[in-house]
Symmetry: C2
Subunit: 190 residues, 2 copies
């Protein structure tokens, strides 16, 4: 399917803006990156950005979301532990790239910006949770999971373990962590 | 034991500064609270604060640490699950007070301030991890825990679940979460 010329130009600008956003925030940090700087790097006018996004937070969120949505999906190979391992390892690896640094900046900004916090939950976190719950419902039906567990608490623990390392800098993110977390979650501490 | 007058005055000023810090950061947010504002509210000179702390981050961290250190300790009743429940419920409740709001501001600031991030880990997180590991070592000896688990991954999951709710605002912190998290951790998802 080919887009009309104007749409193709728009899509090219949109992609250039999102790429420039990630680059600039990774380079300068969230606070110092500005809409002006992003426009300059993307080769577009500032007004083009403001036409599509209401704020810096909104454009950073969309830029992140495009990259993250590629890894938050859950495969279904019939083995819930392996599928969670694929998903969580993808997130953990992505957190270790420049996108992780950009994401930390967004989460930090969201602590004092309720509108950005809501947009983050609605646009990025909730769709991931919906996908997670859908995959778990299938696992439940197949008897791969106990039926008496609290799904949100399970999500808090599995993803919380990754965010804990991303944000608190106690120990670095590493693939081994995902294996150890899944072992504890599925086999239990006793 | 009675302190000499000068020490008593110092300790009184120190406490007034730490209280004023929590109040002001809870009221204005981390970014807008200033050393000047804290000094004014505590009834001390700005120089008194700078004599004891190098930065706003340092004084906020000490103020938080005094309140948090009361709840990060681990009781030893002989039952590891109950002792974890007491500790985590204490943290969860504290996260829901104004101290939680102050702590979010500090974690946000630490994302773009490596010195503050290091101080946070060294002064607040690491001592809590040392206490956690000490309590777990006793549980290990008593056979209350499997011997083949990765302790850091366990900490990531248990505390990560609390920080996930504190920082990402997907679902509110609630005491029930602690019960569900411990159930999953100890009984396993299978």
């Amino acid at each position: 399917m080919s887009l009309p010329d104007a749409s193709r130009r728009s899509e090219r600008s949109r992609r250039a803006i999102l790429e420039a956003t990630i680059d600039l925030v990774a380079e300068l940090g969230y606070e110092k990156a500005s809409i002006e700087g992003i426009a300059r790097r993307a080769g577009v006018g500032k007004q083009t950005i403001y036409r599509w996004w209401p704020s810096k937070g909104a454009v950073v969120l969309e830029a992140l979301n495009e990259s993250l949505s590629a890894v938050v999906g859950f495969p279904d190979t019939g083995d819930i532990v392996e599928d969670l391992r694929v998903q969580m390892t993808g997130v953990s690896q992505l957190f270790r790239t420049e996108l992780g640094a950009v994401y930390k900046g967004l989460i930090a900004a969201a602590q004092s910006d309720p509108a950005l916090s809501r947009a983050h939950v609605e646009q990025l976190i909730q769709p991931a949770i919906v996908a997670f719950r859908k995959r778990l419902a299938v696992a439940h039906q197949r008897g791969e999971l106990r039926s008496d567990i609290d799904i949100q608490a399970m999500i808090d623990m599995l993803w919380g373990a990754l965010y804990y390392r991303l944000l608190l800098h106690v120990t670095p993110l590493e693939t081994r962590q995902v294996d150890e977390v899944l072992k504890i979650a599925f086999e239990g501490l006793r």
